[in-house]
């Protein structure tokens, strides 16, 4: 039972997003007027704001969206992904706080940028209109471009920001061109109207197909599916570690939700047209992610390719395009977020000779000096490789259930083969930690704040113990409708 007063609050249109937008400005002012510890205080406030937003998302009801139907939509799928995005932002702000302080990057704008891009992502997931979708994408991307380049005096950070910006702008342009074609041939920007218009036809005309392909290219860029993945390793490598963590954890979730909604809402009836594109993106991403990661010596690049591989699996579930697919996507994204939070939580606290750990070879001897940390990394790696009994296995398992339900046998076999290849580089990290005799050239420090420790333990707990009581997540994901 909600009290009447609370009820009134929840009845305000679009309350979570409006709240987040207003609070972001408040945070901005708050940070501006703080003399001391501006970064730390703003971060804490940002976490608090995001927590409140989760609460609002959790309680908001469909009626709030009635007036916005043309621009934004409301469904359990949208809410689930909004909550995932918010949780991911909270986790990445907390785990990156100490890192920023450690490298003396104390701009209080960083959490604000995270807030704005989170707002953009929430709008992106909920968008029900080509125009609002484009604006939401731009809001989140612009914040991220700035975030990537936030370490102004570092060449690599600036390079990664510029690279991200130029390629992002290019893809936005392609996306927009696709939108204009779709608008031109259907006469509407609204997803429901487009769907209604298209339902009268058996096949798409050439203009619409072009539009669809252009939009797919743009979206593939956002989820970094092969062959539009080129920016990912470079941006991951160049940006400060904590920004990389945010890139790996949050925007992917939103982009995946968006690509699902775009394929399954307006173009629901044209499965054959878009599924071919997604099928190719999926196979290419799985294999390139698996093979290219093998040769990497930089852990951030390795995780970039690993995330490309994961996107490949998510796209399998999209090709399946059934209820199981949606369920698989939500479980997979949840596990993806948890695993990335855990691995970046550790990476952002590990120092070799007072430098943050970047090279995979620096893991050498970690199992001697920090047995618990290396055990955790091993568990995360095995989970990412999809080895049971960890959560990553169940993500993949549900993806394959969805694929086989749709009789996509070849795709599933290719998927498991790619997972065997990718197991190699995950195992390689375990090998470096445990099997290689340590040459003690550097001392490894693991220093972690209390808050990050909670986040880290919680995510590890979920990775290990998901198997014992899977039903909570499974039931939630089973009830999702797009």
């Amino acid at each position: 039972m909600k009290s009447p007063m609370l009820n009134n609050i929840y009845n305000i249109f679009f309350i979570p997003e409006i709240f987040l937008a207003c609070s972001s400005f408040v945070c901005l002012l708050f940070g501006l007027f703080l003399k001391k510890n501006a970064f730390r205080q703003t971060s804490n406030l940002a976490v608090f704001v995001l927590l409140l937003t989760i609460l609002l998302v959790y309680y908001d009801s469909e009626s709030n969206f009635a007036n916005y139907k043309s621009l934004f939509s409301h469904s359990s799928f949208i809410n689930f992904f909004k909550i995932l995005v918010l949780l991911g932002s909270i986790a990445s702000i907390i785990i990156s706080k100490d890192y920023f302080l450690g490298i003396k990057l104390k701009n209080f704008e960083i959490p604000i940028l995270f807030l704005f891009s989170t707002l953009g992502m929430m709008l992106m997931i909920a968008s029900n209109n080509l125009m609002s979708m484009y604006l939401a994408i731009e809001l989140q991307s612009l914040s991220l471009y700035v975030a990537a380049a936030i370490k102004r005096d570092s060449i690599s950070s600036a390079e990664s920001g510029v690279k991200y910006f130029i390629l992002g702008a290019l893809s936005s342009g392609i996306l927009l061109y696709g939108f204009s074609l779709i608008y031109g041939f259907t006469g509407s920007m609204n997803f429901d109207d487009i769907s209604f218009y298209l339902s009268k036809y058996d096949n798409l005309n050439l203009g619409l197909i072009f539009g669809l392909v252009f939009v797919m290219v743009g979206l593939a860029f956002k989820v970094s599916a092969v062959p539009f993945h080129m920016w990912t390793p470079d941006v991951y490598e160049g940006a400060p570690n904590s920004i990389t963590g945010f890139f790996a954890i949050v925007p992917k979730i939103a982009a995946v939700a968006l690509i699902y909604r775009f394929c399954l809402v307006p173009f629901e009836n044209f499965y054959l047209e878009w599924s071919q594109i997604i099928l190719f993106l999926s196979i290419a991403s799985m294999f390139l992610g698996a093979i290219a990661a093998i040769a990497q010596s930089n852990i951030k690049r390795l995780l970039a390719y690993s995330s490309i591989g994961h996107i490949g699996y998510i796209l399998i579930a999209l090709v399946a395009a059934n209820d199981y697919g949606i369920k698989a996507a939500s479980i997979y994204m949840f596990s993806y977020m948890i695993m990335n939070v855990a691995i970046f939580g550790i990476l952002l606290s590990l120092k070799v000779n007072n430098e943050y750990l970047i090279n995979i070879s620096d893991f050498k001897g970690l199992s001697k000096s920090n047995p618990i940390v290396s055990l955790s990394i091993s568990i995360i790696m095995l989970s990412m490789a999809g080895i049971p009994p960890f959560i990553g296995f169940f993500g993949k398992f549900y993806v394959f259930i969805a694929a086989i339900e749709q009789e996509l046998y070849v795709l599933s076999v290719l998927g498991v083969l790619a997972s065997v290849i990718s197991a190699f580089y995950y195992l390689r990290i375990i090998k470096i930690m445990y099997f290689d005799e340590s040459i003690s050239e550097g001392t490894i420090n693991f220093k972690i704040s209390f808050q990050s420790k909670i986040i880290l333990s919680l995510s590890l707990f979920l990775i290990i113990c998901f198997i014992f009581y899977p039903s909570i997540l499974i039931n939630i994901s089973a009830s999702l409708t797009i």
Binding site: K327, F424, F435
Partner: protein, 494 residues
């Protein structure tokens, strides 16, 4: 019978022990506590598993000690465990060998004792869990989880080429088992059930069966291993520490045979019928070829590893004869091989601990200095050869009797392999045990000590016990095997 969840306790007791060990601090002094904790846990598990055997109802062919809980809300996945005549001895084998492994590693594992014991306890849990699962998803999870501790055991505590061997082991077996995952999901899609019991009723069309059979074959043929998928085994065996080889040969290879009986025979009878010639050919090639390869080895462990492949060839012949003698023989051969090859690896470990080499040329004339060692080694060597009175004989004999009903070519192949096994084992024994000591380094080698006696004597007793009273082991499994054969014949008679 028993009103508390005995089977789950057996499965998870080692894991609980592992959790306790996790909180014991490791340094020079306390590492002995870790060893004792691990030993006591595994011994406790073994004693509990003996209750399984004692309380086992011989007249009941289906699953006993069943426990079933709903696990996933959306699909029919259950935490469903139980024991029948086929899995009973596999579980006993696992619980029997693990404490021996812990004892065998008592002194020669010096680094990372804690991680080592954790790996072994986790390994025991997943091994028992795998044999006890009646839900295929549960089975699969345990089946793949075995790779994690084994990868670490080979990779951390192994020999010089351990990294190559551990990666090969992991990726090779993973490749096989992921295909099984696809097959499992296809099965679930067709029947909406994951219960092994339910799926043994033949619900698949002929073409589906063929594909499913191949997918299962990929994982079990790698695991057992059959020629030509055996190449990971010699590497893994040679590089693994003694206890790792023991578990690998003693239990992990049996996962393949167990899988063939449960899945290929039980669920896909018509496809099995179709593929029997393939299996027979591969098995005979395996027996003859790997026996000849074994003859040429210069490393003792590698020789025993190749002999494992040959012995497993007998097992696959026995399983795919699908008659009473063949299946019983295959089961006996699996149990016997589990004991004998484990014991042989332990024997190799005894001299390796002393001399740190496994080259056959290095040794010679050990009987002069180590009479007791020579005696127990002989028992196991003869067990491996299949001398009447030892466990090896029963299995091979039953399989050959069964094979007569099938084809005399198979009999010739199998018998030829058995002769070859006598050749390479006796030749090995002659080279390292008999003669005079020619190598000066062996001049003051010591005979087996009390700890090694405690390890080897129970094994020797069970090898002989199995050879003299085979019915002790055959009776409990007979009815369960009969059901599989009957189902198989009904399905193929249609």
């Amino acid at each position: 019978m028993i009103d508390w969840p005995l089977l789950s306790v057996i499965i998870f007791l080692p894991l609980i022990g592992a959790l306790i060990i996790l909180f014991i601090k490791e340094d020079e002094l306390t590492s002995i506590n870790i060893k004792w904790a691990a030993l006591l846990t595994t011994l406790g598990t073994f004693i509990l598993s003996l209750i399984l055997w004692l309380q086992f109802d011989y007249s009941n062919p289906s699953y006993q000690y069943e426990e079933k809980f709903r696990w996933f809300d959306d699909f029919n996945f259950f935490y469903h465990v139980g024991v029948d005549g086929i899995s009973l001895f596999m579980i006993l084998l696992s619980t029997f060998l693990t404490p021996l492994c812990i004892l065998a590693s008592w002194n020669n594992i010096k680094k990372r004792v804690k991680e080592y014991m954790l790996s072994f306890l986790f390994l025991e849990t997943v091994m028992i869990g795998m044999f006890a699962s009646i839900d295929i998803l549960l089975f699969y999870i345990f089946f793949e989880a075995v790779l994690i501790p084994m990868y670490l055991i080979i990779g951390i505590w192994g020999g010089n080429r351990r990294i190559y061997a551990s990666f090969k082991f992991f990726l090779y077996t993973l490749l096989g088992s992921v295909l099984m995952l696809i097959a499992i999901i296809v099965m679930y899609r067709n029947t909406s059930s994951m219960s092994i019991e339910f799926l043994q009723g033949n619900y698949f069309s002929y073409n589906t069966q063929l594909f499913l059979w191949l997918a299962f074959f990929a994982s079990f043929a790698v695991k057992i291993p059959m020629w030509p998928f055996h190449t990971w085994l010699p590497d893994a065996h040679v590089e693994a520490p003694t206890a790792g080889s023991v578990i690998l040969a003693g239990v992990l290879l049996k996962m393949g045979g167990y899988g063939f009986i449960r899945f290929s025979l039980g669920m896909l009878p018509e496809a099995t019928e179709f593929f029997i010639p393939l299996i027979m050919t591969l098995s005979i090639v395996a027996i003859v070829y790997t026996s000849l390869v074994a003859l040429a080895q210069t490393d003792i462990k590698k020789l025993i590893a190749y002999s494992s492949v040959a012995h497993m060839g007998i097992v696959t012949i026995g399983i795919f004869l699908v008659n009473q003698q063949g299946l019983e023989g295959a089961m006996m051969q699996m149990i016997s091989h589990g004991l004998v090859s484990a014991a042989l690896f332990l024997c190799v470990g005894v001299i390796y601990d002393r001399m740190h080499t496994r080259e056959i040329e290095f040794y010679g004339g050990l009987v002069q200095r180590m009479p007791l060692y020579a005696t127990v080694f002989m028992i196991f060597m003869l067990g491996s050869v299949g001398l009447p009175g030892t466990s090896g004989f029963i299995g091979e004999f039953l399989v050959i009797i069964g094979a007569f009903k099938f084809s005399s070519y198979v009999v010739i192949g199998a018998a030829f392999g058995i002769i070859l096994s006598a050749v390479y084992m006796l030749y090995l024994y002659k080279r390292i045990i008999f003669g005079n000591i020619t190598n000066n380094k062996l001049a003051d080698i010591l005979d087996i000590n009390t700890r090694e006696k405690i390890i080897l004597i129970p094994l020797a007793i069970s090898v002989i016990l199995l050879g003299i009273f085979p019915n002790l082991f055959l009776d409990p499994m007979r009815l369960s095997l009969e059901i599989i054969i009957t189902n198989y014949e009904i399905a193929n008679a249609k």
